[in-house]
Symmetry: C2
Subunit: 348 residues, 2 copies
Amino acid sequence: MAETTRPEPRYGNRPTMKDVAARAGVGLKTVSRVVNGEPGVTPETERRVREAIEALGFRRNDSARVLRKGRTATIGLVLEDLADPFYGQLSRAVEEVARAHGTLLINGSSAEDPGREQELALTLCARRVDGLIVIPAGDDHRYLEPEIRAGVATVFADRPAGLIEADAVLSDSFGGAREGVAHLIAHGHRRIGFIGDRPRIHTAAERLRGYRAAMDDAGLPVDERWVAPGSTDPERVAAAVAGMLSGPEPVTALFAGNNRVTVTAVRVLAERTDRGGPPPVALVGFDDIELGDVLGVTVIAQDPAAVGRTAAQQLFRRLDGAAEAPRQVVIGTRLLARGSGELPPSSR
Amino acid sequence: MAETTRPEPRYGNRPTMKDVAARAGVGLKTVSRVVNGEPGVTPETERRVREAIEALGFRRNDSARVLRKGRTATIGLVLEDLADPFYGQLSRAVEEVARAHGTLLINGSSAEDPGREQELALTLCARRVDGLIVIPAGDDHRYLEPEIRAGVATVFADRPAGLIEADAVLSDSFGGAREGVAHLIAHGHRRIGFIGDRPRIHTAAERLRGYRAAMDDAGLPVDERWVAPGSTDPERVAAAVAGMLSGPEPVTALFAGNNRVTVTAVRVLAERTDRGGPPPVALVGFDDIELGDVLGVTVIAQDPAAVGRTAAQQLFRRLDGAAEAPRQVVIGTRLLARGSGELPPSSR
DNA sequence: CCCCTCGGGGACAACGTTGTCCAGGCTCTA
DNA sequence: TAGAGCCTGGACAACGTTGTCCCCGAGGGG
């Protein structure tokens, strides 16, 4: 027994090209030629090889292929939570672009945990993805520097990179929020509440900045009790809404900083109305929600598919060798007026 | 120049263990020992190796590792459309189980195209995933037989496998639909419409069967004009709804066969009501939708996360060597009464 | 003081594929 | 008919890692 290694079940003992070659009575390289559609094989030989492949149920081992060729034809996408429709659509758009380039996509969720983001991104690098699209959870991406230097094309989406220079594709959070709040002001509101995600998150900070800019543009003061940045946890959001609507000078309108906040706000406001309670409160949300049209919720709509598509296209441009300086692309937002944002201030 | 091959940029010339070994002044295997936390390395040597790793930005090449070890620590998930919240949640649940097992998940969308399902599944097999979870788009999975025989653990989710024996985790489509339709009957409806997905899809057929069973249980006849299986395309669904609500004997209630149909139905019915039109129509949908509570839509709720989690757990049981006969697990559904399903029949 | 043991470290082969190079047989032409 | 290609097919090395085996040096006991 000269046999040495053989560690485990070994892919359940799959046939290799060598086995196919033996069965077809040809050389190893000839099988490789057939499998890869390379020229230089007689039809008769090819037939024999294909027969053997069929009979043995052979399938080429891509790990070995990758090792030899140096390219994996794979890109990675690190996102926040696949169960969030926003990221689902974004991911899907990336997948389609990848597919068009004959490339496989691996996506994973960071669950908004910077540590997990890093772990995931580096795992993907160890698998030697050709490129990486990252939707940041953290705000320090220096850990990616060695990878980028080693040739992993990297594009950030939805939020910019932290502490490194890199391509990024973003939605216009600042402009969108400013427009949404201005819309409320145009409909007569003066006391407007802002409920957003943690300001450590770039988009959340930008939206808050847009809110303040719109108020400032109109010469309106901002009472800090109207501003509630923090987690998107439904309980926290519900409490914030309740807080802003109580007291001597309640807000007459709300701006919700993202789709999860909007959903909770809609729910809370609906309960309030069901109880035959106080007059309705105007609402504009950042990012569209499903059935928003039916519910009559006015939103600043982002285009997650466009963000994903654009990021993927930029990534493939880099993979094709584009070497310009890193650039930021901003995807515009659209105000969809559906009723909730056009309510006049209640008379108290 | 004895150098021969060197095909392409080669991962951008990443350092290998050999480079690390050279820099640290140790043997190749010693680096491997450090990287894998194997015993038999002096602290001093380990320190030198780690320093070299850091300095060079070395990261182990998992392709080579996989080739050598024979296990990829990767599973694949073939689903229909990642942008659909149902699959997003399912995928996320699978991801969490995989993560707990130190395994990476690769998911891809078949776009409901059987050809794409097969292409994707076989691509994943070529990458030597250890296991595969498939949400079928097609109804013939014999193409997977060689893979399964070769040792790829395979579990089907949401829909059973076609023409092969395999584990499957399903929602109770038949029972759920039957319960939903019975609910409408209990609220006085006699003419109930069914709008579902293409009956080639197993779950769609089961739900239609559940509809018929409930009608039959109550001794009610089914007019074939009330039954509209087909695509979930909004236009088709809208037309079907319109058709059922017109004519001399319109239906007084609708059962929607899945979340996409429900969404369109809600939208169409809302428009009808906005126009101050005819009396409301009762609606029960299969599968929950976002904000269904706010909208007051009665649904038969599935638990996509439970389906995904259960399928993943079964997969890992197989990977751990479980060898019982293939088995089907059925996850129950829950009726959530929220108003739309409790409306009485309109008096015309 | 010598031998034996033990433990750290290194040489080597092998995983399955693909790129290079060459051998042999064929055809075509001078 | 012989020489010059051309076409088919195969031998071999290399990709980066890990498993096996062995060597060498230090330390302890006889």
